[in-house]
Amino acid sequence: MSAIAARPVRPRTGLLLLLVAVVTSITAYAMVGLGLRGRVPRDIVVYGLTIGGAYLLAWGAVRWTAPRADPVLLPIAGMLGGLGLAMIYRLLPGDVADAQAIWLLIGLVAFVLTLLLVRDDRQLDAYTYTIGLLGLILLLLPVVPGVGFEVNGARLWAHVGPLTFQPAEFGKILIVIFLASYLSAKRELLEAGVGRLGLPRAKDLGPLLLAWGASLAVLFLERDLGASMLFFGVFVVMLWVASGRAAYLVTGGVLFAAGGLIGYLALPHVQHRVAYWLHALEPATVHEVGYGQLAQSWFALASGGLVGTGLGRGSPDLIPYPASDFILSAFGEELGMLGTAAILLLFVGLIGRGLRIALDREDAFGRLLATGLTTTIALQTFTIAAGVTRLIPLTGVPLPLVSYGGSSRVATFVMIGLLVRISAGPWQPARRSTG
C-alpha cells in the first residue's frame, strides 16, 4: 500500500481531479436552476468563475506551500463543498445561500491560511497544553453566561464582538492536536500501563476518565449529544491507536455505554431522540415535530429511489431544516441512492486518504494527528448519515463540508488544510524547487 505514496506526487493528477470537482460543482448548480425554474441560472458564469477561480487559487497555494502534498484531498473537499452549495441554493432563498457561498470562500481562505501558518505540523507538537487548554475553553465557551446562547435547545453558539460562531467546531481541532501531542509523548507509558486481567491500572485510567467527564460536561451543559459522542469516540480511537491496548477500547466502550445510559436517564431530550428514532413512522406520533422530521427524511429518501427525481425536481423542502442536518436526505431524494452513495463514497475516499497520510508518516505525532483528524470527519459523517437514515438516533451534527453552516465548513477546511500539510511535510520556501 505504501507503494502508492512512495511514487512521486504528480501535480497534474491533482489539477485534473480539481477540474472534475469544479465542473461537477458548476453542473450541479446549473441542474438546480433547470430543475427548479427550467433554465440555467443567469449568474452561472459568475458562479462558475468564482468557484473555479477560488478552487484553482487554493490549488495554487497548495502547489506553492506544500508541493509534495496529497493531490486528492482538495478535489474531494471541493467537490463535496460544491455539491453542498448547489443543494443549499436549491433549498434556501438566494440571499441565505449567497451567504453560504461566501462561507465556502472563507473556508478556502482558512485552508490556505492553515497551509501558510502551519509550515510544519510538528510546530504544533510544541504547545501541547496551551493548545489543549485553548481547545477546552472553546469547547465550553457556549456555557459562559453572556457569551454563549441556545439555538433549538442546544447551547452551541457563542458571540464574541460581532462574530457569532460555534466554538466547538474549532475546539475539536485543537483537542485533536492536543491529544496527538499528548498521546505521542506518553505512548510508552500507556503501552505499558496494563495491570491484571489486561485492564488499565487505576492511575492510567486518569486521562480516559477525564475525557469521559469532559464529554458528559458537553452533553449536560450544552445539551449537545452529537458533539459529546464524537469527542469521546475520537478520544478512545486515538488512545487505542497510540497505545495498542485493546483494553482501552473495551473500557472506552463500557464508559461510552454508561455515559449514554446516564444521559438517557437524566436528560429528557436524549429520551426524546431515542423515541423519535424508534417511533418515527407510527400513526400516533408521525405528525409531531421530532418524529415527523425523521419520517419526512425517510419519505424523501424513499421517494428518491435508486436514481432520484433529479436536482430541483423533488420535494426535499418538506423536511424541516433540510439544508443543515438533513442535507443528505435531500440528496437522497433528488439524486437517488446512487447519488447518496456517491457522496458517501467521496467521504470514504477522504477517510482512506487521511489514513494513508497517517501511515506514510514515520513520527507518532504526525500519525496520530492525521488519524485523529480523519476519525473526526469519519465519525461525524457517520453520525449524521446514520441519523438521517434512522440507523441510529439522530444527533444534530453537520455533514462535513456539505451542510449549511459557516463554522463547520471553515473548521473542516482547516482540518483538510492540516491533513494536506501533514501529507506534504514541512514547507521550506528558501530551498524550494531543487528536487
Partner: protein, 502 residues
C-alpha cells in the same frame, strides 16, 4: 501503530458499509412501503399533481373543470381550474390539495387521474410513446343552456333546480344557490385555500352542501304524489269520493288539521273526489286518505319511491333505497310504521308531507320521473362516458332503472291528476301553451317565524315525457310569507321546461 491504523480503516469502511445497507433498504427495498405511508400525503399529492388530470366537460365540449400548468414557483406542476365559476360547483365538486375531493372530482377520481383499469391501455401507450401520462376526460349529461336557465330563473332566490330526462335518468340541469366556486378551494396558495374553506364553512347558508341533493326539507303538499300513489295502488281511483269537512279533527285529540289558508275545499260541498282534492291540494282529504290507508301502506309506497325509513329523531335505515349515483345523494325520508303506533295524528301530518317527511329536489324529480316513465323509476345518471386523452371511449355508462315504484295504471291515473293541477288547480302558473305539463305544488312550513319553502315538481309533455323538473325556493323567495309553490316555484319549472322543449 501502523497495524492499528489499518484496522481502524477497515472498521470505518465496515461502518460505512452498514450505512450503504441502510440506504439500499430505505431507498430501494422498502421504498414503496415508505412512500405510500399515509403521512407522506404531501409528496403523494405532488405526484398526483404532476399528472395532467382529465377534464370534466359537457357533451358539446363546454369545459367545466381542467388542469392547466401551474404558475412558476408553484410546488405543483398543474393547477385545477373551473372556468364556469359556481354554476357547476356541485357537479364537478372541488379538487383541493388540503381538503381532498368532492362530487365528480371524488367519485370519478380514478378516471380523472388516469389510474382506472379502463385507461390502462392508454396510460401504457403514453408510457410507450414517451407521452406524458394524462387522465381521462369525463363527459356529463348536463345541458349547458338549461343549467343557465335554471340559474336565471332562480335569480336572487335561495333554492335549487333539478331537471332529468325521465326515460334515461340523465340529469339535464342541477343547480343550487347559494353555491360555491370550486376554484377557491383548488388553486391558489395554501393560506388562501384555508381562508376560503373557513369562510365557506362559517357561512350559515352552508354553500358547500347542495340544496338539490345533499340537504333535506319538508315536502309539504309535494308529498301528496306519494299519498295519491298509495291510494291509487290500493284501489281508490281519481273519482273516489271522500268526506269534505272544513277542518279535520284528528283522532284522539282536539287538534284540528286545516287546509291551506283555512279554506274549505271544493266550494264547501260535503264530498270531494281524489282528483279534485289533488288539484286543489286539499290537506283535509289527504290526511283522511293517509289515515284510511294506514302507516304500513304509506310507508311501503314511500320506500318504493326511494325514501329511507326513519325512527325520528335519530335512526335512519336505508335498505334497497340507496342508488348508484356519482354525486353524494341524500335519499328522502319517511318514518317507519312503528313510529305511528298509537299516534294517528302524526300519520295525518305525514300524509301531507309534514312532521318527519323529508325530501330534496333530486328525490322529487326521481318520483316525478317514475310517474312519467309508466311507473319505472330511472337511476339518475350524470356521467355519460369517459374518454382517454386521445379521445377514445374508455367507458360508457348505460341508462338503468332502479325499480318499479308504481304500476303502469297508477302512473297513468296520477299523470291525469297532475295534469289537472296544472290545467285547473294550484299549478296553473306552470302551464305552457302547446305543451301539456303535469305537476304538483308544495308549500312547506319552515318553522316559527320563517316564510314557507315553495315546491313545484312536474314533467312534460304529459303524454310523451321528455323532461322532469323539481324546484325548491327557500323561505318563500321574493314573496316571503305569502309564497306558495304555485306562485314562486311553478314559474321556474315552467321556464326550464319551456327552454328544453322549445
Amino acid at each position: 501503530m501502523e497495524r492499528r491504523i489499518r484496522r481502524l480503516g477497515i472498521a470505518l469502511v465496515l461502518l460505512f458499509a452498514v450505512l450503504f445497507g441502510q440506504l439500499a433498504y430505505v431507498q430501494v427495498f422498502a421504498a414503496d412501503d415508505i412512500k405510500n405511508h399515509p403521512a407522506n400525503f404531501s409528496r403523494q399529492l405532488i405526484a398526483e399533481y404532476n399528472v395532467q388530470r382529465g377534464k370534466i366537460l359537457t357533451a358539446d365540449g363546454l369545459v367545466l373543470a381542467e388542469s392547466v400548468p401551474a404558475p412558476e414557483g408553484s410546488r405543483y406542476r398543474f393547477e385545477r381550474r373551473y372556468p364556469q365559476g359556481d354554476l357547476y360547483g356541485y357537479i364537478t365538486g372541488f379538487y383541493s390539495r388540503i381538503y381532498g375531493r368532492s362530487a365528480l372530482e371524488r367519485s370519478m377520481n380514478s378516471y380523472l387521474s388516469g389510474d382506472a383499469s379502463e385507461l390502462a391501455l392508454s396510460t401504457f401507450s403514453d408510457l410507450f410513446l414517451g407521452r406524458q401520462k394524462r387522465g381521462g376526460n369525463i363527459f356529463v349529461t348536463i345541458e349547458p343552456n338549461l343549467q343557465e336557465v335554471a340559474r336565471t330563473a332562480l335569480g336572487a332566490n335561495k333554492g335549487a333546480v333539478v331537471a332529468m330526462d325521465p326515460r334515461t335518468g340523465d340529469i339535464l340541469a342541477l343547480y343550487s344557490t347559494p353555491g360555491f366556486d370550486p376554484s377557491q378551494l383548488s388553486s391558489g396558495s395554501d393560506p388562501e385555500i384555508r381562508r376560503a374553506w373557513k369562510r365557506l364553512n362559517a357561512d350559515p347558508d352552508k354553500p358547500l352542501l347542495a340544496l338539490s341533493h345533499q340537504e333535506l326539507f319538508l315536502p309539504g303538499s309535494s308529498f301528496k304524489i306519494v299519498t295519491a300513489s298509495a291510494a291509487l295502488e290500493n284501489g281508490f281511483g281519481p273519482e273516489s269520493q271522500w268526506p269534505n269537512p272544513h277542518r279535520l279533527t284528528l283522532p284522539l285529540t282536539n287538534e284540528q288539521l286545516q287546509n291551506f289558508g283555512d279554506d274549505h275545499c271544493n266550494g264547501g260541498s260535503s264530498q270531494i273526489t281524489l282528483i279534485e282534492a289533488f288539484e286543489e291540494s286539499c290537506n283535509v282529504t289527504f290526511a283522511e286518505v293517509g289515515l284510511r290507508l294506514g302507516a304500513e301502506q304509506l310507508a311501503a309506497q314511500a320506500r318504493a319511491y326511494g325514501l329511507c325509513g326513519t325512527l325520528p329523531p335519530e335512526r335512519t335505515t336505508c335498505d334497497g333505497q340507496l342508488i348508484n349515483f356519482e354525486l353524494p345523494f341524500q335519499n328522502g325520508r319517511f318514518p317507519e310504521p312503528s313510529y305511528f303506533e298509537q299516534n294517528d295524528p302524526l300519520l295525518a301530518f305525514s300524509a301531507i308531507g309534514l312532521d318527519n317527511d323529508l325530501v330534496n329536489p333530486l328525490q322529487m324529480v326521481l318520483m316525478a320521473s317514475a310517474v312519467a316513465n309508466g311507473g319505472m323509476m330511472p337511476q339518475p345518471r350524470i356521467v355519460s362516458e369517459v374518454r382517454d386523452s386521445q379521445g377514445r371511449v374508455a367507458r360508457e355508462f348505460a341508462a338503468r332503472t332502479v325499480r318499479r315504484a308504481i304500476s303502469g295504471s297508477t302512473a297513468a291515473k296520477l299523470t291525469q291528476m297532475m295534469i289537472a293541477v296544472v290545467n285547473n288547480g294550484s299549478g296553473y302558473r306552470a302551464s305552457i301553451p302547446g305543451i301539456q305539463v303535469a305537476g304538483k305544488t308544495g308549500t312547506a312550513t319552515n318553522g316559527e317565524g320563517r316564510a314557507p319553502n315553495a315546491w313545484f315538481t312536474a314533467f312534460a309533455p304529459a303524454q310523451d315525457p321528455q323532461i322532469a323538473v323539481s324546484v325548491i325556493v327557500l323561505d318563500g323567495g321574493n314573496l316571503g310569507s305569502e309564497a306558495t309553490g304555485g306562485q314562486v316555484a311553478a314559474p321556474i319549472v315552467r321556464a326550464v321546461i319551456e327552454a328544453y322543449l322549445r
